[in-house]
């Protein structure tokens, strides 16, 4: 368990939804189909009211531009999970990258996200990459 797990109750309240989504999207049909693995995903997720990625393969769709929910992007490319970032309250955020245009976005993980896929993403910087972890560790040792 993490050090900060004790104060989990002081959780930041989520922003209320202010955007109306088109028919067939979340809010219209109540579910969406994953762009990566074609899983039919219900829009209601435990732990978050802003589900934007598939809980199985963590793939998202590039529909928002600057503001989450604005639906202003005309790219519509699949966004693959790029990395994980920790928040100070111990929650994980998922960084997505559009595989068509290279745009980035951040979203909180949901309660039913695939834990194995999340952990695989979290340990990826530390896995024995030829020029990643080993090079940084060598640099750290050289400075000591």
């Amino acid at each position: 368990m993490g050090r900060r797990n004790r104060d989990r109750r002081e959780r930041r309240p989520q922003r209320p939804k202010t955007v109306l989504h088109a028919h067939g999207e979340i809010g219209g049909a109540g579910s969406f189909r994953c762009a990566g693995c074609r899983l039919e995903v219900p829009a209601i997720a435990p732990g978050t009211s802003h589900r934007n990625h598939c809980p199985h393969c963590l793939t998202s769709l590039h529909v928002d531009r600057r503001i989450p929910g604005d639906r202003a992007a005309d790219c519509r490319g699949p966004m693959v999970a790029l990395s994980l970032a920790g928040r100070t309250d111990g929650e994980w955020r998922l960084v997505h990258r559009c595989s068509r245009c290279g745009g980035l976005s951040v979203n909180r993980i949901a309660g039913d996200d695939n834990a194995r896929a999340l952990v695989r993403l979290a340990v990826r910087p530390l896995a024995g990459a030829p020029s990643g972890f080993a090079a940084v560790a060598r640099g750290a040792l050289a400075r000591l």
Binding site: M1, G2, R3, R4, R65, R66, L82, S83, L84, A85, G86, G90, E91, W92, R93, V95, R97, G103, L104, S105, V106, I109, A115, R116, V119, A122, V123, R124, P125, L126, A127, A129, P130, S131, G132, F133, A135, V136, A137, G139, A140, R143
Partner: protein, 121 residues
């Protein structure tokens, strides 16, 4: 045309970090142009990554996470503290390894679910 005009490429050789004030050279050891401070890994929001071109924000960008695209090279993901825009930048050879490592292990140091259950799966 006056002869007192500066040369067309008066590129500054150093810049000051917006967070730690460190004066760093504009080029990294590999000869590429630097876009973040090698000491604290902070950056400045001068490029509009969404629309392209220069950005009017000019806010400070903090390192958010480390991504590993194909090839195994570490890439830093920055986030602007003023407008929340995200940017990617390559890790250079003289970036502070301790700060890099701290960002890399931060998700695993504070997981949202107990990781010891993964030994049984």
């Amino acid at each position: 045309m006056s002869t007192t005009e500066p040369s067309p490429t008066p590129r500054a050789l150093t810049f000051d970090c917006v967070r730690c004030g460190l004066t760093v050279s504009a080029l990294d050891p590999d000869g590429r142009e630097r876009d973040h401070c090698p000491g604290c890994l902070s950056s400045r929001h001068v490029v509009d990554h969404d629309g392209g071109g220069a950005s009017a924000c000019d806010g400070r960008m903090v390192p958010l996470s480390i991504a590993v695209p194909r090839g195994g090279v570490w890439v830093l993901v920055h986030r602007c503290v003023r407008c929340d825009e995200l940017a990617e930048s390559a890790v250079t050879a003289d970036d502070n390894p301790l700060v890099l490592m701290r960002i890399a292990v931060r998700p695993l140091a504070d997981p949202p679910f107990p990781l010891d259950l993964f030994g049984e799966v």
